[in-house]
């Protein structure tokens, strides 16, 4: 009957815990996340595929690949251009005699670098803007959100093309970086909105009021209380932005405004190959392999994003009532 330990006998916590239905092993958030994520088979597959791609791309130098920009020649000294896939050249060679497989792998390095850098920039800047606007409200919110609206209303591709041309000169040689900055600047708007929405709702939660009642200052409330609870949409959205960045980079490269040859990039390779293939040489391998790489990567990123969203979704937490 007594719910509090009275007198001198030590309370039997195990009986109390059993009465409350408390599980014997603690169930941490990480455990919950893992259980839910593993259930999403497509996301698991996507994670594995992306893992492999990342490894290949990171350790490209250690792999037995040709140089992506070297013009290869055969025993007779002739340039081995436009060879279809065969034993020596698994993905064939392009019009300059470069090994397509090596180009796909190194091209992946460029594409993924741009994508990840973009994702990081978007996550940082979007979160910053969204959290300040959402937490403080008032004119700060109005100002920041109208600015965000401005960015969101820009037509992506035309602006990217114009800016790319200009950035190219400014960032001579470090094209991956310039592309990242460009895309990062264009894509943070949606995340800012999402973060702002999260902050608006979390700001009113009772645990935030409790922190205020304890005397916590704004900084602590933002970083220790609200932000960790807003992490899920940030991670999910950032993941999806990575997918978008890959496509945009490919599009820019395809149109000639991205990475320039001889540096490989998937979009650029597909464009070149497309021109050549149409021109009658029938070199289908020049288009297929880079496109395939693009598709697989973007699909995996999206499925991973889906899986993360489901796994991190607090409404699906195992709640005790």
């Amino acid at each position: 009957m007594t719910d509090r330990p009275s007198g001198n006998e030590p309370p039997v916590y195990s009986a109390l815990d059993e009465a409350e239905g408390l599980s014997v092993e603690p169930v941490t958030q990480w455990k919950l996340f893992k259980t839910r994520f593993v259930r999403h088979r497509l996301a698991m597959l996507a994670a594995v595929v992306l893992g492999i791609i990342l490894l290949l791309v990171l350790f490209a130098d250690l792999l037995p690949l040709q140089s992506p920009t070297e013009q290869l020649s055969d025993e007779n000294g002739r340039i081995v251009n436009l060879l279809s896939p065969r034993g020596e050249y698994w993905f064939g060679t392009d019009e300059l005699g470069q090994d397509v497989m090596a180009r796909v792998v190194y091209g992946g390095r460029t594409s993924l670098t741009v994508a990840v850098l973009t994702g990081l920039m978007v996550a940082t800047f979007g979160t910053l803007v969204g959290s300040i606007a959402g937490y403080y409200g008032g004119w700060v919110d109005t100002l920041l959100m109208r600015f965000t609206d401005l960015i969101l209303s820009l037509p992506l591709l035309p602006v990217a093309i114009v800016a790319a041309a200009w950035l190219r000169e400014a960032f001579e040689g470090r094209e991956a970086l310039s592309l990242s900055i460009l895309l990062g600047t264009l894509l943070w708007g949606t995340l800012a909105r999402i973060v702002r929405a999260e902050f608006l709702s979390l700001r009113e939660k009772e645990f935030v009021e409790a922190a205020r009642a304890a005397g916590a200052r704004d900084r602590r409330i933002i970083f220790r209380h609200i932000l960790p609870n807003a992490l899920s949409p940030i991670i999910v959205n950032a993941t999806l932005v990575i997918g978008i960045a890959i496509i945009l980079e490919a599009a820019l490269s395809f149109l000639g405004f991205g990475v320039r040859p001889p540096e490989p990039a998937w979009g650029q390779m597909a464009a070149n190959g497309g021109r050549l293939a149409v021109g009658g040489s029938g070199a289908w391998w020049l288009v297929l392999f880079p496109s395939f790489a693009l598709i697989i990567t973007v699909l995996s990123v999206n499925f991973l994003g889906d899986g993360l969203r489901d796994a991190l979704d607090p409404t699906q937490t195992i709640e005790r009532k």
Partner: protein, 336 residues
């Protein structure tokens, strides 16, 4: 004793979830007669709402399933009816009102629209006749200016008004049984009194049976003829209101009564409290599900599941020691 209106036998409703199978209702039987006011009392996880949804066959597969049982309504087994026939029963002969009228009413249609739709569907009359019936129904529930209110949207009405609209919708087709799932829980206490009063008036007038589901023992004390107490998906005690309150048999019921504060009494400093919390319904333990919280539990309570036994006229309890316990000190003695 007249033919029972609703007879539920051995109902088991389970839900499949990520963590396992939730045995929300696990072997429940009860009967409601014509015009009877039957209260179903329980806390979270007791299965009281799921029971109502099962009777209405509103349990959605594949997640939820009525695994076994028989639900005889006016002699016919509702579980064996075709979907079309069940739809005629639902709303026409058995009506249900819910706790939160804001989510039960469609926010994008006027209440007049929704009322008329129900009436047309179940009474087979034309729209203009339905309009008249709807106006009458709103009048019956004492909504002022029914003509004007017909054009209102749910969000324009207060909580109490919305609940009245729900009652109007529920009773518009003169059902034999009205199931009310926590109809006043979300309302202020003065509004609650209004709504209960209204429900009493209307159901007495039309001899409608009511199955009132609530967690509030005070509400059933004033409203119901018979009361059924549920815990963790099972029946704990059932009997007339007098029996349940004055001759309590089950330690859980007694514990609830003992731990409640009362408006008209001052209790001792410390209330009786039941330790622990309602259990999870996934993989429930063997034996009595109340065992871990019960002050009277013995070894047999862990191994043998106590089945409901009739210990008085119409007074059932599911406990191995029901008639032997001194529950008076549990229920508490008023100080003043």
């Amino acid at each position: 004793m007249s033919e029972p209106l609703l007879q539920v036998t051995n109902l088991r409703t389970f839900f499949s979830t990520e963590e396992g199978i939730v045995r929300a209702v696990d072997g429940l039987s009860f009967t409601i007669h014509e015009g009877e006011r039957f209260g179903v009392v329980g806390e979270s996880g007791s299965g009281k709402s799921v029971t109502a949804l099962s009777v209405m066959r509103l349990i959605e597969p594949p997640a939820g399933e009525i695994v076994t049982g028989e639900i005889l309504f006016k002699g016919e087994d509702l579980l064996r009816l075709r979907d079309d026939d069940m739809r005629k029963v639902r709303g026409g002969q058995i009506a249900m009102i819910f706790q939160d009228p804001m989510t039960a009413l469609n926010p994008v249609y006027t209440i007049g629209n929704q009322l008329i739709e129900t009436i047309v569907l179940h009474q087979g009359v034309g729209k203009s006749e339905a309009h008249e019936i709807a106006l009458e129904a709103l009048d019956d529930v004492h909504i002022p200016n029914p003509k004007v209110r017909m054009g209102d949207y749910p969000h324009q009405l207060s909580g109490g008004m919305r609940q009245r609209v729900m009652i109007a919708m529920g009773l518009s087709c003169n059902p034999d049984l009205l199931i009310a799932d926590e109809p006043t829980t979300a309302l202020d206490v003065t509004t609650q009194a209004q709504i209960l009063d209204l429900m009493l008036e209307l159901t007495e007038e039309r001899n409608t049976a009511v199955m009132l589901i609530t967690h509030d023992l005070g509400v059933v004390a004033g409203f119901c003829d018979n009361i059924q107490v549920m815990y963790a998906g099972r029946l704990v005690e059932r009997g007339t209101t007098g029996f349940i309150f004055d001759e309590t048999l089950h330690p859980y019921t007694a514990g609830l009564l003992g731990s409640m504060t009362r408006l008209d009494e001052v209790r001792e400093e410390r209330l009786y409290s039941i330790r622990g919390a309602p259990p999870s319904l996934i993989d429930p333990a063997n034996g009595c599900r109340f065992r871990v919280r019960c002050d009277f539990a013995q070894a047999v309570c862990e191994t043998d599941t106590p089945l409901p036994r009739e210990l008085g006229e119409g007074h059932w309890a599911a406990c191995h020691f029901a008639s032997d316990l001194d529950l008076v000190r549990v229920k508490g003695v008023p100080v003043r």
